[in-house]
């Protein structure tokens, strides 16, 4: 036999008594999601992200296809003309300046395409150049790039490195 619940409205005359089943009782209840565990996860995420929060951010974006060497240096990079030396080519951004195969066969240290590119691109810090080079690169390639840059009047070099923790 189903329980019969008398509501205040039923106490008035002429108002039929409501007959509620247990299933209907449960359907009126509000389901609250358990967010306690979600709060735990969010708190841990918050602490981690606050630890890696940086007001300065990174002014320079390293190229994705090269691995920078580690260094104990703490000097912050400045935005200057950047040359990226990957394992296959000398680039600036998406523009390929010279592939290693095109100049390594020559005995000369001078890279003509790089010199031409440097003459066409001048920054407000005219003598400065930043080199991003893969850590496995042989020094021979770096030497040729530096020689060409110095012949083009760029004598102040900086190397972009990854900070050691």
């Amino acid at each position: 036999m189903q329980p019969r619940i008398r509501t205040p409205a039923c106490k008035k005359e002429g108002v039929p008594m409501l007959s509620l089943s247990r299933n209907k009782n449960m359907s009126n209840a509000v389901m609250k999601p358990q967010i306690t565990s979600l709060i735990d996860v969010m708190t841990i995420l918050l602490v981690f992200l606050m630890k890696s929060f940086s007001v300065e951010g990174n002014i320079i974006t390293p190229a994705s296809d090269l691995t920078l060497p580690l260094s104990a240096s703490r000097t912050a990079p400045q935005p200057v003309t950047t040359i990226e030396i990957t394992e296959s080519a000398v680039r600036s951004g998406d523009e390929v300046i010279a592939t290693h195969d095109s100049y390594r066969k020559n005995d000369s240290l001078f890279i003509p395409s790089l010199a031409l590119w440097l003459s066409q691109h001048e920054s407000f810090r005219k003598n400065e150049i930043m080199l991003q080079a893969d850590k496995h690169l042989p020094f021979d390639i770096l030497k040729r790039v530096m020689f060409t840059c110095s012949k083009s009047g760029r004598n102040d070099f900086t190397i972009l490195v990854q900070q050691e923790e």
């Binding site: 060497p69 042989p138 020094f139 030497k143 110095s150 490195v161």
Partner: protein, 154 residues
């Protein structure tokens, strides 16, 4: 029996905290820096690249670290002061730093050093040596190319 009389503890409403976290976390994710970058400054030695010498005076020798595949030597002019072997492609940076600090006291230009590198040395090794020179107290680092000595083959 009324609910307050049963001793039930009212639940803490964490909805405002969740609202705050939903706003904060995407903001912090966008500002997070996971890789910190730095730069190493160096210059080319004055007698490199131009191919010309200025004046008739003999250039004053600077302390030089020669980096090769199998060894790392410290020289002053034509005199070899020290040599440190490289084992398993790994330089003993602490030992190099100690030797550099020792020899630095005996040179006139105590803040300048030249790192001369052979052609087939990896760039990572070069950066490690430059770091070690900075740790030894040298503020001006010059990068140069080291050629093989035709007499000794070293």
């Amino acid at each position: 029996m009324q609910p307050s009389q049963t001793g039930d503890v009212p639940d803490l409403d964490v909805t405002p905290v969740m609202n705050l976290l939903v706003i904060l976390i995407p903001f912090l994710v966008s500002m997070a820096v996971f890789t910190r970058l730095a730069v190493l400054e160096f210059s080319l030695p004055s007698n490199i690249g131009s191919g010309t010498s200025v004046g008739n005076e003999k250039p004053e020798p600077k302390l030089t670290v020669v980096v090769a595949d199998a060894f790392c030597s410290i020289t002053l002019g034509e005199t070899m002061l020290d040599s440190i072997p490289i084992v398993n492609n790994s330089i003993e940076t602490e030992r190099l730093r100690e030797r550099l600090t020792l020899h630095r006291a005996s040179v006139t230009r105590a803040d300048e050093i030249i790192v001369a590198v052979r052609n087939n040395v990896e760039f990572e090794q070069v950066v490690r040596v430059m770091d070690t020179c900075k740790n030894a107290g040298f503020t001006k680092i010059g990068l140069s190319n080291a050629t093989e000595n035709p007499h000794t083959g070293v």
